[in-house]
Subunit: 436 residues, 2 copies
């Protein structure tokens, strides 16, 4: 016996068992097909980029988390999101693209975070973005929620809420109160409203801001009711700040068009407290929650930004985008038993033989495959019981058994692995049964 | 104007324009769907692994090419193939898998080769392998060519040849001639037969080996005719070396079963000169050639190996596998104009408006999407001519135009972008036309 290395997947890297991988892939394909249904173009940029290009914009946490290394004379890094590569791509291929440029990208990104349960160092992002050349109609901000809606419907969810806000409303409100400087700390307090309640929020705000202004903020935070009512209440606040008015008008237009794009009223909610970070987003912002599992946090977020490519070109490239963090979403859904991979099978059928009828196994499998049935075979010299154990592990719904009698009578035996029923009949009928 | 970084994708990294990416993805999905048709389970292992694990087996060229770096205390590396990660996976999850374990993996791998035209540092491999626990029936070696066959058929090729050999025949031949020690250099000479011809091969062999033995090798190399004739000729050589006889019997069985798995005679050829490297493969070996483009080299190769996991466990895990180097294949097919992405479109239709009929655009697009039509919209404040230019760049087959008249009469105008034909009719009819 020689000394062996014990193989181990690194912590923070998701590696799935086959049945889990089948389910993961189904979700990934559903997202991809939905994005394509809306006419978004596929991109697949490299995972390794020039570190200087990738880090043009980064700083702070991102810079610490990045995987950066040298190879020969090259200073390289692994992408930490799909937005910077998009920014690079749009600048590099500007002349060959048509604008608005609508692309999706589904791929792995890398962040060397502290390993924690449910936090991954390698994870899939599923992004779509619409990039304008110089300008981009606000109506695009209304199309994205319809893609979020279709995606989660297609993933099998019904009870979810797309929350929408416009950063200009918050910014305009603070500006109208001469609180621009304080906006970061105010937003931090507001963000806790779900956890600590309105009263505590008010208390904390009073420590920092004069009474009158806190009253206005609290009036703003208490705005409630359906989307129309909220817009009405915002108008009734009588704020004339230009940014506020612009944000409110944008929100009105976006909400109107989201309906035209087919999102039902009950799946869309104006949430005036959503800010999504301080620097990046400049207008519309989105978050999406599974209503029964709001504790999972937002499962799809995004928004409008003013300039995608500022580090690479003087051209103005405004955009709007959304992102699903699929690896984390998959973990959360599995961990909370909202989805299960227990019965996932890649194959429709497994063909096995009683003893050594392997020629017939090959022939039968070939015919099944030609008929569009996903077919695995077992042609090992194993006992029948072991072959059935394999079938169980594979979760395969049907096993086709071939023995001497079957060959003599030109039939096969079909076993339904769910019901346990067994039937000896022609291959033709078996194909019909499985296809049903 | 601030100073800007000029964004540039690294050399040796394939980055495609959207229409090319559409075609690339179609090919990738075709391969995936075919692999699944044969019941292979999907895996998706991390791109980053512990360097020690990844390099257990490596050495020489591989070690130089690998992307290896440190992050915190971890010695990390990017995978350079999908076989070592499979080896790790099978050892790590042994108790949870059923054997034979049949998996496919399609993913990017990394090798820091010298950048050359058509050689990539990041490239897709599309692998399938069958791994046995202790032993693995030779019949599995016959199933893989049927997957190669189905894959290239599904990719749109007809005129291709799967070449098959068995390393034991070559090894047994050399052993029977007491030339085991020379096998490496003999194989190198034999390998040139297509380029330099049989006479020159003979000449070179005579420099090293005695006449009589060269005669036997030349007799072997001259074996010709259809597959049955070749097997007959091999038998007629009267070699009794155990390894030779075993290899010949395996080859006979594999050729017989390949037919049962549905591969036509004309797509399969015994090629006794294929060796595929010296150390790794131990039995059956495959190469695949597009007959009209033999100069492209093998487009799908693989073979049988004795032990996948020898660096990690004492358990014997024999396997057989094939691999398609998709990135390189795509480059070669594009470069030789065998495929073209010129007319690739992700969308079936683009909806535009004459001026500002955006509500109707949203409504029409939503109905089209609900009817399964991949639909992009253009809701920018752009001139009609510019919108049509966009449509051209997107290669979209149909443009749906909405203007005041269309809204008044509750119709839309459909333009076929290939024929140039234009028709004003109901949305219902438009859906039927596009679906046809």
């Amino acid at each position: 016996m020689s000394e062996k290395l014990k193989p181990k997947t690194l912590p923070g890297f998701m590696e799935l068992l086959p049945n889990e991988q089948i389910l993961f892939n189904k979700m990934k394909e559903t997202i991809q097909k939905t994005y394509e249904q809306y006419g978004f173009l596929p991109l697949n940029t490299p995972i390794i980029e020039d570190a200087k290009i990738l880090l043009a914009k980064a700083g702070g946490e991102t810079e610490k988390q990045i995987y950066r290394f040298e190879k020969g004379e090259n200073d390289l890094a692994l992408r930490f999101d799909l937005t910077v590569p998009l920014s690079k791509y749009v600048t590099e291929y500007y002349d060959k693209l048509s604008f608005p440029f609508k692309r999706y990208q589904i791929g792995k990104v890398y962040r060397g975070e502290k390993p924690q349960r449910g936090r991954y160092r390698e994870f899939y992002q599923c992004d779509i973005d619409i990039i304008g050349d110089g300008k981009l109609s606000i109506l695009n901000d209304a199309e994205l929620p319809s893609i979020i809606y279709a995606t989660f419907k297609n993933l099998g969810f019904n009870d979810f809420t797309i929350c929408i806000n416009n950063r200009k409303i918050l910014n305009g409100l603070f500006s109208s109160l001469q609180l621009k400087e304080n906006s970061a700390s105010i937003l931090r307090v507001i963000d806790k409203i779900d956890k600590i309640g309105a009263d505590k929020v008010k208390q904390e705000l009073l420590e920092e801001i004069e009474d009158k202004k806190v009253e206005v903020i609290m009036q703003f935070l208490k705005i409630d009711g359906d989307n129309n009512k909220k817009i009405q209440d915002l108008e009734n606040m009588g704020i004339t700040d230009e940014t506020f008015v612009e944000g409110l008008n944008e929100l009105k237009t976006v909400v109107q068009f989201i309906k035209l794009f087919g999102v039902p009223e009950e799946n869309l909610k104006i949430d005036l407290t959503i800010a999504r970070g301080l620097d990046y987003y400049t207008g519309t912002v989105y978050e999406t929650f599974l209503n029964k599992y709001r504790n999972l946090g937002s499962v799809c977020s995004g928004g409008r930004y003013d300039n995608l490519t500022e580090y690479y070109t003087d051209r103005k490239m405004p955009g709007v985008g959304i992102s699903i963090g699929l690896t984390r979403l998959f973990f959360l859904l599995m961990d909370n038993k909202i989805i299960s991979a227990e019965n996932e099978s890649i194959s429709d059928a497994l063909v096995i033989s009683m003893s050594d009828e392997y020629e017939k196994v090959a022939e039968v499998a070939t015919i099944l495959r030609e008929n569009g049935i996903k077919t695995q075979i077992n042609i090992e010299d194993q006992k029948l019981a072991k072959k059935f154990k394999c079938a169980d592990r594979l979760n395969v719904p049907y096993v086709i058994i071939i023995g001497e009698d079957e060959i003599k009578n030109n039939v096969v035996t079909l076993k339904n692995m769910v019901s346990g029923e067994q039937k000896t009949t022609t291959l033709e009928e078996v194909i019909n049964i499985i296809k049903r």
